[in-house]
């Protein structure tokens, strides 16, 4: 089975690496779309630094929204494990990605063993509803908390004002039940994600949590829209000091979510080479832009439109690795579930670096 292609032609891996290195060496402004485990991400960022490129994650838009909550505001948070053990009142805020539904259902099937130890009660703050959000709310038997026609930030604003005893323009369904639940719960937790709404709504949510902490305790659990993307953000932070949408100008990293939005850079022809990494399989590079593409993706056929395609494995499936997990809210060592011959992103990136002029190894 081929693992490397130049255009649509299968080639030995070494030929693909050599050709890809030539493209990288001649690029004026390469951009990198990341989607790998911690070690793949470390190597890719090191390569971007070597080449003076810029990088973002494949889920860059929603990740940027999540990052902005922290860079612009901050907040009060707790860990998934602590919420499971301690919180008898959990409020789902807007839409939570399907990938996390199993986790929330597992909480629903357990009883808090710390704090008030009451039977768990669920609420769901409505925004613009989707079928998946409705389905989750039904499974959790979550009590809706919202109002027709109000967006999520508006609902949160009204709820916050109402809980502060201010006069509110709209009435929320079940707000009295929610008030009552708050009086008995010692550690209510609001569960949110980047998919819950715009950053302004997430900031409003944090304002609500801060209000509740003036007299009692409350917190929030952040479940990233994409665990791998959040893992990339954390890795990027320690490697460069910055989250993704970072570029290397004059060899120093700089963070600018507008300037280094690489899809914009591709569209505006600021970039002249796109290195697209995708280890989850079944993904295709975003459309738009007509610059040369190097694909490092989990695939058994050449990526459409790519000058070079190299098939890579996924950490936890094809090889061991380290990934972020919302189950624990931190990194986890993952073992290969179905070990394969597919190389890891970090090994291919290492080979690319060695094939560049100077043949210098990467620090990662």
């Amino acid at each position: 089975m081929s693992v490397a292609w130049v255009g649509s032609q299968p080639v030995p891996l070494t030929d693909a690496v050599r050709n890809a290195a030539k493209l990288l060496a001649s690029s004026r402004c390469p951009v990198f779309t990341l989607d790998a485990d911690v070690h793949g991400t470390r190597s890719a960022i090191a390569l971007a630094e070597r080449l003076g490129g810029a990088y973002d994650h494949a889920a860059g838009d929603v990740l940027a929204k999540e990052v902005a909550l922290f860079t612009d505001h901050g907040g009060m948070f707790t860990m998934p494990g602590e919420a499971r053990r301690r919180s008898s009142l959990i409020v789902i805020v807007g839409e939570i990605p399907v990938a996390h539904h199993e986790l929330l259902q597992a909480w629903a099937g357990s009883q808090p063993d710390l704090g008030d130890k009451h039977k768990r009660t669920w609420f769901h703050i409505d925004g613009t509803e989707t079928i998946e959000a409705d389905k989750l709310a039904r499974k959790l038997k979550a009590i809706p908390l919202g109002a027709d026609g109000l967006s999520l930030p508006a609902v949160l604003g009204v709820l916050r004002a109402g809980l502060q005893g201010q006069r509110i323009a709209a009435s929320l369904t079940n707000i009295d039940r929610f008030r009552k639940a708050l009086t008995t719960a010692q550690f209510p937790v609001f569960v949110f994600s980047g998919t819950s709404g715009e950053t302004a709504g997430l900031v409003m949510l944090q304002g609500l949590v801060a209000d509740l902490n003036k007299t009692g305790r409350a917190s929030s659990v952040f479940l990233p829209a994409d665990d791998d993307a959040w893992g990339t953000a954390l890795t990027s932070l320690w490697m460069t000091g910055f989250p993704p949408r970072t570029g290397f100008s004059n060899s120093l990293p700089s963070y600018d979510p507008g300037r280094w939005d690489i899809q914009r850079m591709i569209r505006d022809k600021e970039a002249d080479l796109h290195v697209w990494m995708s280890t989850r399989g079944g993904e295709t590079p975003p459309r738009g832009g007509k610059i040369p593409l190097i694909s490092l993706s989990k695939t058994n056929s050449p990526t459409s439109g790519a000058k070079i395609t190299i098939s890579v494995g996924k950490a936890g499936i094809d090889h061991d690795g380290v990934s972020y997990s919302s189950r624990t809210g931190t990194f986890r060592a993952v073992q290969a579930a179905q070990p394969s011959e597919l190389p890891s992103v970090s090994s291919i990136v290492g080979q690319l670096a060695q094939a560049l002029p100077g043949r210098k190894a990467l620090p990662c």
Partner: protein
């Protein structure tokens, strides 16, 4: 490879070998002058001071909270980059790469991250492995987790506590144990807003004192070289000196390390009810040989406070500058708070600055006082050169004092203390004593058999410049810094104890995590191979 450093003034208090003499390095180790041998490489270090590589026992350089600070404050990092020498403020954003580089350039070769949450140990070690040049170590946090508190509440045996502590040290690859405001993080989750040494954690009925004493005894029984590292209650508040004094008095013959004592050096005198109690605390430390302390010196400017003392950090939100913070109620011993802060030369900042210096100067034994700013809490570690100058020059202290709040300084003894640290004392405080405290026999001195971690400083009247830009630094015999700049990158190791786990405790941990978290134990542990560097850890034999 045989390397000779010739003509330097060697400062080596451990071996009573402070004299003008040559230092020889063979294959990464220090050796006695070989008879008749010719060096492969000779460095003329005439006019220079030669010391062992420095060791920092308490600096928050990696892990979840440090990374969250980077996330919260990208603007600080950005501000730093174009003019690093002029902005010692922006360490919040520093990358792992810069951390290793900047430490090495000052002649530091080993740094301890003192607050590793056990459940995020893998994250911490991933970061530490990406810090170049220097060796690292960690202290695992205990004392706020349900398992420890339940053992104490239920009156379980000290042997069981020891097995648990050993399991945590081993599974997290730690070099020791730290307790942070013992019990307060657990109490805060139950809406307790202040917590002192004899207060109890509501759900467990266990006092902070009992937690500290139990862990102190356990660490001692296990033979962990580093005594329990204690972040006491009531950090930063007026009157905290009473808490520190009570903690010091409670050692009862068992060793204890009290972290960043400066932040507890406050009384309630004066118009602002915020005064210096440094002299009283220094006296208490001088009188109690069980106790070692580090300072946590405050220097002026912007920084960010990073602490797992979540209760204290929550209470400090109102002082955040800029106005954004992260407060995390973590699992067990994790969590904490990130609160950016600017130390101003006003009454409060001036008093804190003076309290730290008073402690440095009034604690008489340099083997029991350690040089820290609690990076980045009191100041970024890049402020160290200026701090060395303040300790070694009373004129420098006087000069700085003229810029500060006279009322605050008037409530301290600082002006009357004329002590100036000698180079020998600096070498003890930053090399010999930390190595001894951590149980690292292979470093902290320049005797034969030690690893060749060597810092060479060009003598000059400008003390800060001397310590900011080491003339030469060797790490394990590799020349890594020349004239204050890194010339060669290498990867250090993370030092750990590796106590064998008790099999029954492992089973207990498996059952506990499956029952309480619904996850198997392997979600919380990791193999060494997860770090993906060759030999990322080195064992310290206790």
């Amino acid at each position: 490879m045989l390397i000779r450093l010739t003509g330097g003034d060697v400062v080596d208090p451990v071996n009573a070998a402070t004299a003008k003499r040559d230092v020889w390095i063979r294959d990464g180790l220090l050796v006695d002058a070989p008879k008749g041998a010719t060096a492969d490489e000779t460095h003329d270090v005439s006019g220079c001071i030669v010391m062992a590589g420095a060791i920092d026992i308490h600096s928050h350089i990696g892990g979840g909270n440090v990374n969250t600070a980077r996330l919260l404050l990208p603007e600080h990092h950005r501000a730093h980059q174009p003019r690093p020498a002029n902005t010692p403020l922006s360490n919040a954003g520093w990358s792992t790469f810069q951390t290793g580089t900047l430490y090495a350039q000052m002649g530091f070769t080993t740094v301890v991250e003192p607050a590793m949450a056990p459940y995020t140990a893998l994250h911490t070690h991933l970061e530490l492995a990406d810090i170049p040049i220097i060796d690292k170590a960690t202290l695992a946090i205990l004392g706020n987790d349900d398992f420890t508190l339940s053992l104490l509440r239920n009156g379980k045996s000290s042997a069981m506590l020891d097995d648990y502590v050993a399991w945590v040290i081993g599974s997290t690859r730690a070099l020791g144990v730290k307790v942070i405001n013992a019990g307060a993080a657990a109490a805060f989750k139950e809406n307790v807003r202040s917590f002192s040494l004899d207060d109890t954690v509501p759900e467990y009925g266990v006092s902070s004192r009992k937690i500290v004493k139990s862990l102190q005894a356990s660490v001692t029984r296990l033979g962990v070289p580093h005594p329990l590292h204690v972040h006491a209650n009531n950090l930063g508040i007026a009157g905290s000196a009473d808490t520190a004094a009570a903690t010091i008095a409670a050692t009862e013959g068992v060793p204890l390390h009290l972290a960043h004592l400066q932040f507890y050096g406050y009384g309630t005198e004066g118009k602002r009810k915020f005064s210096s109690e440094a002299a009283r605390l220094a006296e208490a430390v001088n009188a109690n040989p069980d106790v070692t302390i580090d300072i946590g010196q405050v220097m002026f400017g912007q920084t960010v406070t990073i602490s797992s003392d979540v209760m204290r950090q929550y209470l400090a939100i109102g002082n955040a500058s800029p106005k954004k913070t992260v407060i995390l109620d973590g699992d067990g011993n994790g969590g904490g708070g990130i609160v950016p802060y600017r130390y101003k030369q006003d009454y409060y900042g001036s008093l804190q600055w003076a309290v730290g210096l008073e402690l440095f100067l009034l604690i008489t034994d340099p083997w029991r006082v350690y040089f820290t700013t609690d990076h980045p809490n009191g100041a970024p570690f890049t402020a160290y050169p200026e701090l060395f100058e303040l300790l070694m020059s009373s004129n420098a202290r006087d000069a700085k004092s003229t810029e500060l709040n006279a009322t605050a300084l008037g409530l301290t003894t600082l002006a009357s203390v004329r002590r100036e640290y000698t180079l020998e004392e600096i070498a003890i405080m930053t090399r010999a004593a930390p190595a001894k405290l951590l149980g690292l026999k292979d470093r902290g001195h320049l005797g034969a058999g030690a690893i060749a971690d060597v810092a060479v400083y060009r003598k000059g009247r400008d003390i800060a410049k001397m310590f900011r830009e080491a003339a030469l630094v060797f790490k394990n015999g590799d020349l890594v810094v020349k004239n204050g700049k890194v010339t060669h990158y290498r990867w250090g190791k993370t030092l750990r104890l590796n106590p064998p786990p008790d099999k029954a405790m492992v089973k207990r941990m498996q059952a506990y995590h499956e029952e309480r978290y619904g996850l198997s134990l392997d979600w919380f542990t990791f193999p060494d191979s997860a770090i993906q560097r060759p030999d990322p850890f080195a064992e310290v034999i206790s």
